[in-house]
């Protein structure tokens, strides 16, 4: 992460920084290197996800959880290496908005699943009714 600390969302666009401004020089090699590293990590995590489905070396009921963890990790990789979300001061607002977005997403997804599962649990079995009308 350290090599990306000088980035911010869209730092490649609208460089209103005066030429020769102090700071870390962003050479083309370094910047391409950042994208290649992000791509490699994303490919590795994607491959791991597809491998996790086929393998028998993960405890069966844990595979779905492993897929969730791998997906969240890959989203993090994309945020850091492609969207350049960093801890830089001019990125604080982006981070805060992201944190709030994640909160809402978690509330919607886990809240819906939680509530609807309890609702299904408290309902009379409907399978015999459904079957006739499939």
């Amino acid at each position: 992460m350290t090599m990306n600390q000088n980035y911010d969302a869209g730092s490649h666009v609208g460089e209103d920084r005066p030429p020769g401004a102090p700071g870390v020089t962003r050479t083309l090699e370094r910047e391409i290197g950042g994208y290649v590293l992000g791509l490699s990590l994303a490919v590795a995590l994607t491959a791991a996800s597809f491998w996790a489905v086929d393998t028998r070396s993960i405890y069966g009921p844990g595979v779905a959880l492993a897929l969730l963890v791998l997906a969240v990790a890959q989203m993090g990789i994309h945020l850091i290496f492609f969207l350049h979300i960093t801890t830089a001061p001019d990125n604080t607002n982006n981070i805060l908005a992201l944190a709030f977005g994640v909160l809402i997403v978690c509330l919607i997804v886990f809240g819906s699943v939680w509530v609807m599962n309890h609702l299904a649990y408290n309902m009379a079995p409907m399978d015999h009714l459904m079957r006739g009308h499939g």
């Binding site: 700071g23 391409i32 489905v53 969207l83």
Partner: protein
């Protein structure tokens, strides 16, 4: 610019502002040092839109998760999903996102040739993704597994189709960006539009990560392995 006059002198900065000096102005985004540069403000505004789009998708994910087992006697995810197709789609979108990043590097260096080449690759890979998805959908409908078959398939088509619609509109946006770079060059307003486009394109790949992992891969697990 007049804001130069208002800018605070570059006194010593605390350590937590380590990336500060690389910033164009001395603006911190916290009010100190004058207003933040335009690309920061524009990027933030578009980031808010993207997050609202993510929240829209989260509602579709939630309805899919709730309705996943309601197949109404019809085909299940395990019977329908073709993981080979999904792997190719994933590769297309990931490579497309990478090419989009290369395009932003070319724009930063004002190279029209490499910008257009990178954007062309981005667009072709995105188009390949959309075509693969359309073929998959057509195949499902032809096998009687269209969105009207069951609640599971309704929510599946809504979620994945909404992502596909986003990618399609992104392709149109990409084509207009190529035309604008060609006609108007690397003007600041065009570069800011392009900044928003790259954020949009990368965000779509993040949504796809959730779709291929939690919809396709989890969907093909045998029933005893499902949560």
């Amino acid at each position: 610019m007049s804001s130069q006059v208002l800018r605070a002198p570059p006194v010593s900065y605390p350590d937590y502002r380590v990336a500060h000096a690389t910033n164009a102005s001395q603006a911190s985004g916290h009010g100190a040092g004058g207003p933040a540069p335009k690309r920061i403000v524009v990027g933030y505004g578009f980031w808010i839109f993207l997050l609202s789009d993510v929240i829209l998708f989260s509602a579709l994910f939630a309805s899919y998760a709730v309705l996943f087992k309601n197949t109404a006697g019809g085909p299940t995810a395990r019977q329908l999903f073709d993981l080979r197709n999904v792997a190719i789609e994933t590769g297309c979108l990931l490579a497309s996102t990478f090419a989009c990043g290369m395009a932003s590097l070319a724009v930063a260096r004002r190279s029209l040739k490499w910008t257009q080449i990178a954007l062309l690759i981005t667009g072709f890979l995105g188009l390949a993704f959309v075509l693969l998805e359309a073929r998959e959908f057509a195949g499902l409908v032809a096998h009687g597994a269209g969105p009207t078959r069951s609640a599971f398939l309704s929510s599946f088509f809504t979620l994945v189709g909404c992502h596909g619609a986003h990618v399609t509109s992104g392709l149109i946006w990409l084509a207009t960006m190529m035309a604008q770079f060609r006609a108007k060059g690397f003007r600041e307003d065009i570069r800011l539009r392009f900044l928003c486009f790259t954020l949009f394109w990368h965000a779509l790949d993040i949504i796809w990560v959730a779709i291929f992992s939690l919809v396709y891969l989890v969907g093909t697990l045998p029933p005893q392995m499902l949560p």
